[in-house]
Structure formats: structure tokens, C-alpha cells
Amino acid sequence: MNKLDTMSPFTDRTESVENQRRQFALEALSKLTRQFAENPNFNRLANMFLLTILGQFGVRGAVLSMTTDSECPNENKDFSIGQIRMKDKIASMLQSKEIQELFLMQQSMFSLIGFNDSRLSVHATDQFKESGIELLIPMVYGNRLLGIIGLGGTVGDRKLLPTDLEMLCTLVDSVVPLLMNSLLFQEISGIGQRHLEVLNSIYHGIFVFDKAKQLKGVNESALQILGQLQGRTLKEQSILGQRFDHVFNELVFPNWLHHLADIDAVGKSVLKKKLVARGVNGDHVFNVYLTRLKVDSASSTSETVLTLDDITTQRDSETRLIELEKLAVRGELTAAIAHDLNNFIGMILGGIQLTQFAIEQSKFDKAIGYLSRLTESAMSMERFTASMTDSSRLNAQRSSCNLNNLVTDVLNFTLVQPQFRGIRIITTLCDDLPNIELDESQISQVLLNLLNNASDAVNEGGNIPKQIHIETLLHSEDIELIVSDNGSGMSNETKSKLFKTRQTTKSTGHGFGLVNCSHIIADHGGTISGQSELGIGSSFTITLPVGR
């Protein structure tokens, strides 16, 4: 001891020793602060704090318990070091309302409670004694009790002097804010980590560029997109810091910079473009969304967020679907045309048979009549095929006709066909049916279609005898032509699809005709409808206006 060194008036130590102890405490605090600045890990800070207290004040052990008011997660609640018995029990006791209310009542920043304080219950006192705790120090932040430190007794014969206690409380008060801020850092890191996890779970590629247009952040999908286009695996570190025009270079992203240059206003605005990128394995189509975000309300600088949605597969599927649709339409058209041609062929074949029969019976006048009708059918067929190259298929050539005569002519040519053998044909034609303006060929086509459908229905199964009934009726403003059969009838599902494309119940696939029929009748200003009942039969009614 230096002879000149004086004794401290408060302790049995010299002034220089006291000063050196304070110096150590100051250095300890400095180290804790530096540790917090370098790595604000709460657990590590709490453990180091307790070790510092042990070494600085020579106590056997220490326990730190954070209260629920500190919003501390459970894994950060309790710490202990050294010779403290029943550590878990003590930590649990320090969480008790009794202890916490005691400190809150104290209303002081650093109150110390000894064993014999009557405000503590006997039970709690005994528990602390048994564990080795001799001091309880509150950790107060603002008006909140954040935690409690429990200290064991001093080692050897030492005692904590008043200057030690003062130094201890100063140390605790200085470190509490560091502990609180490390908890905050932990929470913010957790939030940041959760946000990162959310970003990385998003299917779209997200790129964030700073105000200098340098890449400052990407999510995993963005890395995958770039890697896929370049044919290699990319790591985040390899592209961060690159400029916008380097990330979206002209080679892989042709004209992207030009298209995306539209968004140059400051403030939040969104631009959406569909752009193509050239990858090593082919072109990819993206929906590109560009958003400008202000960094802060006072600043005019902004960050740019670019989102890529790879719609290549979707576009390919749409393209394929369109092609299939075209094929289907083409197929449907072909089938519809074939169907109509079959009707004409059927009439012509029927006419040829009648002509043959007339010649065999030397009824030459009749034969000439039949040949004339055959010629008209052939010409109708010619007009029909010619209309295939004309956009307006329904190129009606109307003339004044009698519907009853048309029905008779069609029946004559049709009924000789094999499918009508064995079918009883009944006609109920209205007398004094006026002539109306109609395209004879087209209405013949419709009637032929209905007759063929009826014959198919009765031949596929139905009632005996097989029967088709053709009827004409005159009303005040229109004429009805009804074709009904006693065939198998149609289900409700089939009825609901009548006059719609690609609807057929026939194995021969001739359901297309009703669509053409409806077009023809509609073109004549009329209507066509169908009724049916399973097991009973079907009936189709054409209504044509009088006076056209």
C-alpha cells in the first residue's frame, strides 16, 4: 500500500483501491456496452452481465428473471450462474405477483430487500434463504418492472459495503436499457426473418432496387427465374449490387428497359407489362409489375420493386387451347357440312330411284319431272358448296312457295330411302295453305333433317308400329310444320342440349343438323322448337310467318 494512499471514509479500503474498483466496474460496463453494440444477442448479454456481477462483487451466484411485463419470450426468461440452489424454483418465485408488487410499491429505481423485510412472506423468505439468495435487485425501465436479479452471498468473509451496493445498482441501471434493446433487436430480427420467409415463399420473383438502381434484395423465386433463363444456379451474393440494366440486360431481356422506362414519376405507381425473356432453353413470357416506393415521406428518392410472374406455361396452354378450339370448330364445321351434303345426297339418290322406277314403268312424263327435281336438288347442293367459300352461308334465295307442295316433294324423294322402310308416314296437311316467301332448298334441307332424325329415332327403338307424322297448320299470322315420331324419345339432359353444337345422341353423329335448321328458320323469321318424352316420342315444330 502506498504510504500516501489514504483510507476511504466509507470502507476499510484505501482510496486508490476504491478508485480501482470503480475503474474495473467502469471497464466492465464498457465491455458490456461494446458487446451489445457488436452483437445484441440477449442471451449472451444476460449471461455476461451475471458473470460480471459475480467477478466485480465477489458473490457466489446470481440469477436473473425477466417478468412477463418485459414481453420477453419464454426462452429468454431465466438465467443463472454459480452457486444458487433451486434455480428453477427461485426463477419461478421471482415471477410471482407477490415479489413483483413489492418492487412496484417501492417506487424506487434500485431498492434492495434483505431477508427480514416484513413485506415479504415467511414462505418466500425461507425459499430465498434456502437457495442462497441474499439480495434482490429490481430491473426497472421507465415505469415497468422488467426483471429481478437475485444475488447469492459473498465468497469468503467479505461483505458488500455501501459503496459496493451503490456501484451494483448503478451497474444494473446502466445495463437494463441494453438488455431491453437487445430484446427489441431480437423481435425485429424475428419480424425481419418472418418477412423474409414470407417473401421467399412467394411464387413470383421479387427484385428490389435502391435509388441508385442497384439491386439490394431478391427473393428465392427471383434467383430461380434468373438462373433458369441463364441455365445455371445463382446465389444472392453474386447479383446483389448489380445495376438494373445489368440484371435485366438486353441479351436476355430485349427491350425491357425501354418498356419499363414509362414509370419515372416519383411516388407510388404501378406499371404492368407483358414481356418476353430469352432463356437458354427457350423464350419465357412474364407479367412484369414495376412499383416505385418512396423511401420516406420527406425524401424524394425512391426504391423500385420489380415483380416477375412467369406466365409461359399459362400462355402455352392458352395457345394450345385455342388451337384445339379451332380444330374442334373445324371438325364441327366439317361434320356439319358433311351432314348437310348427306341430306342432299339422300334426296338425289331418292330422286334417281324414283326416276328409275318411272322409266321402268314407261311413265316418262313422271321421269322427266323427277329428273327436273333432281336437277334442282343438284343445283341446291352446288349453291350449298359454293356458300362454303362465302362468309354468309345462309344466302337465301326466296321465292313464293307452298309449304304443302314442298312437304310432298321432299317426302317423295326421301321415303324411298332404306331407312324409311317399315315406317308408317302420316301426313295431315292443311287445306288452303297460302304461299309464303321462302328458300325452297333451305326449308327442304330442314324438313329432310327432321325426317332423318325421326326415322333414326323410330328405328333405334320405340313403339310399334313405327310412325312418323307430318302436319301443316295455318294460324292467323303463321304456318306451323310439325314433324313428330313415336320413337324412343329424349331424356331431359338431351333435350336441354338441343340446337346446340356438337350435340348428338346418334352413333352416326348426325346431331349437327338441328343447329343448321335453327339458323335457317331464324333467317326466315321463324322459330323451331322440340318436345320429347322418353318412351313416347318426339315432336319438332317449325313456325314460319305468313306474309313473307
Partner: protein, 121 residues
């Protein structure tokens, strides 16, 4: 900069040797605690800490030693600091702990114990 403990190894079935580096402070105090905890858990009753290279000891470093002294003494052993320099003794004196720790200052006696192959950490 984190400074590690230099080495540690078993001297006998009962005694464990730890060789401290230049500094025992906030950077490696936890490591010392873990080393002492491990030695205690492995059944060693005495730990001898070679302080020949130790020139700096912080409060947290002292705390890391203090945390386990009683543990070893209760088992009939001890935590011994040997080849301790004057500066380290001064720190312990200021903190009123020089009489509490078992300190050996003689280097010959200390080195005689530390002859086994060191197990580098």
C-alpha cells in the same frame, strides 16, 4: 477479437489442466465457464489453470472462475491458478478475491504438472 483458451487436458484421473491465453474477458469468459462445467461433469475434482500467458483479467473473467470454485471445493478438490503474474494478482487483490482463490506463483512447480501432451482446442 475473440481469444480462445489455448489448451486443456487431463493430468491425472482427478485433475484437469486448462491453459489460458493472454486475455480472460467478455470474449471468452463463457468458454471458460463451459470448460469448467465440462471438467466438473466429467468427474474431475481439481482444475489447474495455467496463467503463464494471462496478462488481462476482466470482471467477467473473474466471474467465470468464481462460478465453479465452490463446486470443486465441495468435492474435496479445488480450482488452482498457477504461474499467475503480479498484474493478475493485483486485479484479484483490488476485487478482494486474492485470499479466496488458491494461487501458485512459482513457474517451475506449475510447469512440472503440465507435461502431458496438450489437447489443442
Amino acid at each position: 477479437m475473440k481469444t480462445l483458451l489455448l489448451s486443456q487436458h487431463a493430468l491425472t484421473d482427478d485433475t484437469w489442466i486448462i491453459r489460458a491465453s493472454q486475455r480472460l474477458d467478455n470474449n471468452n469468459a463463457e468458454e471458460m465457464v463451459n470448460a469448467l462445467q465440462q471438467a466438473h461433469a466429467n468427474g474431475f475434482h481439481t482444475v489447474r489453470i495455467n496463467c503463464a500467458q494471462l496478462t488481462f483479467l476482466s470482471s467477467a473473467g473473474v466471474g467465470s472462475l468464481l462460478a465453479y470454485v465452490d463446486e470443486f471445493r465441495e468435492k474435496g478438490g479445488d480450482l488452482v491458478l498457477y504461474s499467475v503474474s503480479e498484474s493478475i494478482i493485483h486485479v484479484l487483490t483490488v476485487l478482494d478475491l486474492a485470499d479466496y482463490f488458491t494461487i501458485e506463483t512459482g513457474s517451475v512447480q506449475a510447469e512440472a504438472h503440465d507435461t502431458m501432451n496438450a489437447e489443442r482446442i
